[in-house]
Symmetry: C2
Subunit: 259 residues, 2 copies
DNA sequence: CCAATTAGTATCAGTCTGGTACTAAAGTCA
DNA sequence: TGACTTTAGTACCAGACTGATACTAATTGG
């Protein structure tokens, strides 16, 4: 824990300070913008990553995109942006009580020219995982508002950017947060887990190495159940149960640098 | 490149879609909030990470914190939030032309109860690096507005959260973005580079392994210059010059998972 | 000239990766 | 029933990588 300790730097640096706030905000309360949370719900489907989209109203006639990410403006009852995202997910997935979100993270904030379906000026992108198998309950007759896509239709530029940022964020988190486990039900086979990793990483993994490293890390715990999926030997079911904090490697990975 | 391909999921899923935007926004334009960019400028100083803070005006008498992150509300001339951050950095560091920012990333957006020095409702945290040695030019007589801190004084809760998120973000980026190099001048010794890695990682590194891995990754290029820093053998200067795209490891790092 | 200090290298044992090839247990089909 | 296919899971091994120890190299300060 070296971190940032404080106390002005020893003499020589500019320690004199005077109240400065040179830019006069347009209004006393400061600049106000229309804000929204744009939600990227991700779930593995058919060996790919799927995203949940809703029908876009198309603000004006002739608008191209007819699908959009679930989104909404924060409400006073939302204590945090994450809470706002959960509320939006509950509406979109028709889980009014508790939407099946197992992981949630921010995925960029955008306030540029790119168009938002609701003409929102500032978008906060939030990405969340929905475990495989946690399908939303059927919407009340004909009221289903969206669908899971594995091939993305045209979106508003802003939503396209949010989606790209969300996928980048979940991929970046794969090593430091148990996102892969969050994309699976409570019990799963090691082949299923490996497939999720392969989806997120974008390449195949070596089976023996994957299991060896996983078991060595004491992240999973075998159950007594086995699942027979059609033909082939049944697979043992595991659950995510991180045990001992293993000593992690101290070295630096220079091979991951890009740009 | 597997990614998210599209086309609604095969039959069985809810593909029916109707225009839904059930929540009526308070205003036709949607909910508007006061927004600001809170900037975390980081630079290595004396073997630690230092952050640049400005005197806080203290909105009302009796306010505790007297230091704050540089911040500002977006201007119409800011094409993006990053541009806004660069403008704020230019003012704070008195580099009106081009502030010496070498890397820039978002570090969370906050819209919760935690107090902002300007009573802003929504804060976009942005973290940027200033290379060691790139000191801001002396401010016009007595007008210096801030200082670099290695020990953090009390801040408004919102700024404390932004700072924590910024440090977490830069640490998370260390393996995938050349942040360590961005915290150094154009040429540097390998010991200096190792020290920056140690500051960011929070623990010591093995010298031989560090150099071996760094050289193997073809990330740096030796110059003809050597620097003698007081006693001890002079060190060769290197520059960041990533060459060949080396085949990166395909395995999974389970040892980095936390929580 | 010698000690202290910092830069940089050599060697080596233990570990980890990923390739190949194997065994195990189920279904399918003749 | 018995071969064949399919998926799960393991064994072995050569090569690569890590980190510990110990070394050499070059400079400053006495």
């Amino acid at each position: 824990m070296p971190a940032y300790p404080f106390a002005p730097e020893s003499p020589g640096s500019a320690t004199v300070a005077s109240p400065v706030r040179v830019e006069p905000p347009p209004s006393p309360r400061g600049w106000a913008a229309s804000c929204a949370v744009d939600l990227v719900l991700l779930s593995p489907r058919q060996g790919r990553l799927a995203v949940f989209l809703e029908r876009s109203t198309g603000e004006r006639a002739g608008d191209e995109p007819s699908w959009a990410l679930p989104w909404g403006t924060p409400w006073p009852t939302d204590a945090t942006l994450d809470d706002c995202a959960r509320r939006i997910a509950a509406r979109a997935l028709h889980h009014e009580d508790a939407p099946p979100l197992t992981w949630l993270a921010q995925a960029g904030t955008f306030a540029d020219d790119r168009q938002h379906p609701g003409r929102i000026e500032l978008s906060v992108g939030i990405v969340a995982t929905v475990p495989a198998g946690a399908r939303q309950p059927d919407a009340p007759s004909g009221e289903s508002s969206g669908a899971w896509f594995t091939e993305v239709p045209p979106l508003h530029d802003r939503h396209r950017a949010v989606l790209d940022a969300a996928v980048a964020a979940i991929r970046l988190s794969i090593d430091t947060a148990p996102v892969a486990f969050r994309l699976l039900p409570a019990t799963f086979t090691l082949s299923e887990l490996q497939q999720v990793y392969e989806i997120l990483l974008g390449h195949r993994l070596h089976k023996a190495s994957f299991r060896r490293a996983l078991l060595a890390a004491s992240l999973v715990e075998a159950t007594d159940d086995w699942r027979s999926e059609g033909r082939g030997r049944p697979a043992q079911l595991f659950r995510y149960a991180p045990r001992r904090r293993r000593p992690r490697r101290r070295g630096v990975r220079f091979d991951l640098l890009r740009g």
